[in-house]
Symmetry: C2
Subunit: 392 residues, 2 copies
DNA sequence: CCACTTCCTTCGATCACCGAAGAAAGACTC
DNA sequence: GAGTCTTTCTTCGGTGATCGAAGGAAGTGG
């Protein structure tokens, strides 16, 4: 069913199957993993002894002895997660069950440079870590989604648009040093893709997740794993030239980029020109829901533009599913326009079994993905690794 | 160095390292694989006993005992390969060293339907198999590249344009039954991608190989492995809408597709309208080399159009390299136009370390890829598997 | 109450790999 | 040219993961 990065049958894999409900007993695991019963028993025992898995009573008989139910231990491991936006930070804890809790939003202006943002981030995550430890849980690490390009190693920020001072900032290692925990850093759309991928049923092997908010980004899952590309910049669709954008200059230095017409920032600017007060992508969403005609028109056109670009991507990449996330994905006209464009422009072979849906995880997708990524990597190292350890 | 599909250290991996010259002795293999010397010795012994590897004298000392050189056995395994075009078939044998020999071209009109083509194909491959067996080599299987979509299982042809009668034709199993050998079937661009990927140095993790000939296709390598997509149709870039094509109707039923302006077929048609007699993509190439202005202009514009589509692909997929293959890639203006378009339109981050080159394997890339794909899958099964076995 | 199913554990056996020890063969040094 | 160091490769026991067979525990259904 699920096919995580790990080898089949690894401890992390077992945990994942139990966490997402694919398996509730040892016998389930045997069926799911195809391993020998004795092997599964041994693995489960390890996990129980490590405090990550627990037995909880017995289940219904299927004609024989009742299975001894397994569940992930609540007092087990958690990861901290942070989803950064250009003007706010969302933090939370993610457990082995794959749900996020203790979620908070903080207003932080990333455009004011990295140091103040790092201060706030470290402080918030620090108190969050305290709370989790007080509740008896082990903090395994921190996952961070950043609203801009991250280098191939997941160590530094690369030339983010409209965020001066961040270029080459070593966010991963700076944060790891501050909190003494391993940090996993990636682009926000990539984190969102991980979150949506895990939540999607059936689990798609190849998936494209679009984040349409103030900016436009996407995360790519290829063969069940995140595709980051040669330089870590895969998934960029916002600087593709579209007819609609004509000669409009873009922050990237080029002209006619998708971002200049279809991003939340662009739509907001266009609405302000018409004398309508908007600030964030959520403001736009509200206007659309209230039937404001200008906003609806702009959002629908944005959907068409995004759809035109996605049509190329879908033909080329042939994913099982396209998931639309980010604040603007709440706008029905946008989703409808993307769907229409894809069905019109793509090859029938590419769309015949393609599902195109709005995101299922809502605003927490980024947190969930970031947290789950950390847990997948740092769960089975028994002690939380050496303080300054910040592996990619 | 090289990272094939297999687990590191598998017998196939050892063979690959010796075949491509990465390792010439057991000690080399130890360094390359990171395995214990004893393990490598055992593996090599197996392979020698299986007749796939041979010792050939001693090499130069590096300050101690001389290494005993290894090479792949000439009398070892081969795969047969066939590269189908709309009007011809190219066949050859591919050895473990990764080179093709006993190559032949046959005129066959695929547009006349599958049955006659299958007859010719089976007959040619049959005599090729005979010759190889007579030379003392074991034929492991057959790889076939088809100039149109192949289903996700690699079993059937799907709705190829301009080739009536082929839809859903079970080419893999029909050919396997005729020859009693396992058959590996895939799109021609995918096979070409496999061939170019293996030949490329350094081996790119993520790669896009474009085949620009009569039609336009591409093959995608993601994380060292062929990306076929959900339905096996990944890599399609020929039915992307481009401005240049305006409202031109395409064989796919849509309008404005890249194929209608940038394919060899489209260029040939445009030249014929100007009264210039051309038939194949090679004819076009000859015209360009002779400085025929119309042909050169059309080819350059085709390069720009292909480049415009590839720009989206490169931003999205962020490969290490883009390789241009197919007959038209021999035209310098086309390669130059693609390069120009990519550097102009892509993000700097995506192109800063991107290599964009014409294919290195020439017209044999498809054969090599098809053969190598078979050898990777069917090398270590000691006896050539059961006659009708046609695994995907 | 007895046969049969399901669930899970115990207990050798197997297989891949490792590392230590050493043998073979040469290079280097004084 | 004799001893020492390097490099290459093999032999041989040891370790760890997994498997399969056997069986015990706990049910269901006639």
């Amino acid at each position: 069913m699920t096919a995580p990065d790990e080898q089949p049958g690894s401890a992390a894999h077992v945990l994942e199957l139990v966490a997402n409900g694919s398996a509730t007993s040892r016998a389930d695991l045997v069926r799911e993993l195809g391993l020998a019963a004795s092997t599964v028993s041994a693995r489960v025992q390890e996990l129980v002894e490590a405090g990550l898995l627990a037995e909880s009573g017995e289940g219904a008989s299927r004609g024989g002895r009742r299975p001894r139910l397994l569940r992930v231990a609540e007092q087990g491991a958690v990861a901290l997660a942070a989803d950064l936006g250009s003007h706010h930070i969302r933090t939370g804890a993610v457990g082995l069950t794959g749900d996020a809790f203790d979620i908070d939003d903080h207003a932080v202006d990333l455009t004011a440079g990295p140091e103040p943002a790092l201060d706030t981030l470290a402080e918030r995550l620090g108190t969050l870590a305290e709370r989790q430890r007080a509740a008896g849980r082990t903090v395994r690490g921190i996952g961070v989604g950043f609203p801009g390009p991250v280098d191939a190693d997941g160590a530094r920020i690369i030339a983010p648009s409209r965020m001066p001072g961040w270029h080459l900032f070593p966010l991963r290692d700076r944060l790891a040093a501050r909190l003494g925990l391993p940090v996993l850093l990636d682009n926000d759309a990539n984190m969102m893709a991980l979150g949506e991928h895990r939540a999607a049923h059936p689990t798609p092997r190849h998936l494209v997740v679009v984040k349409a908010g103030r900016g436009i980004g996407s995360g790519v899952i290829s063969d069940g794993r995140l595709h980051r590309g040669a330089r870590g910049s895969a998934g960029d669709i916002s600087h593709v030239r579209v007819d609609e954008a004509a000669e409009l200059p873009c922050s990237c230095g080029n002209i006619g980029c998708l971002e200049t017409v279809a991003s939340g920032a662009a739509i907001a600017a266009a609405l302000r020109e018409k004398g309508i007060a908007v600030d964030s992508a959520t403001d736009i969403l509200r206007l659309v829901e209230n039937g404001e005609p200008h906003a609806t028109t702009l959002v629908r056109q944005a959907g068409r533009d995004i759809g035109a670009v996605l049509a190329v991507v879908v033909n080329f990449f042939n994913p099982e599913a396209v998931i639309l996330g980010g604040a603007l994905s709440g706008a029905q006209p946008l989703v409808a326009a993307v769907r229409g464009m894809l069905y019109e422009r793509c090859l029938p072979m590419a769309t015949s079994d393609l599902t195109i849906n709005a995101a299922g995880c809502g605003p927490d997708a980024g947190l969930l993905g970031a947290g789950q990524a950390v847990l997948r990597r740092h769960t089975m190292t028994d002690a939380p690794p050496a303080p300054a350890a910040a592996r990619s």
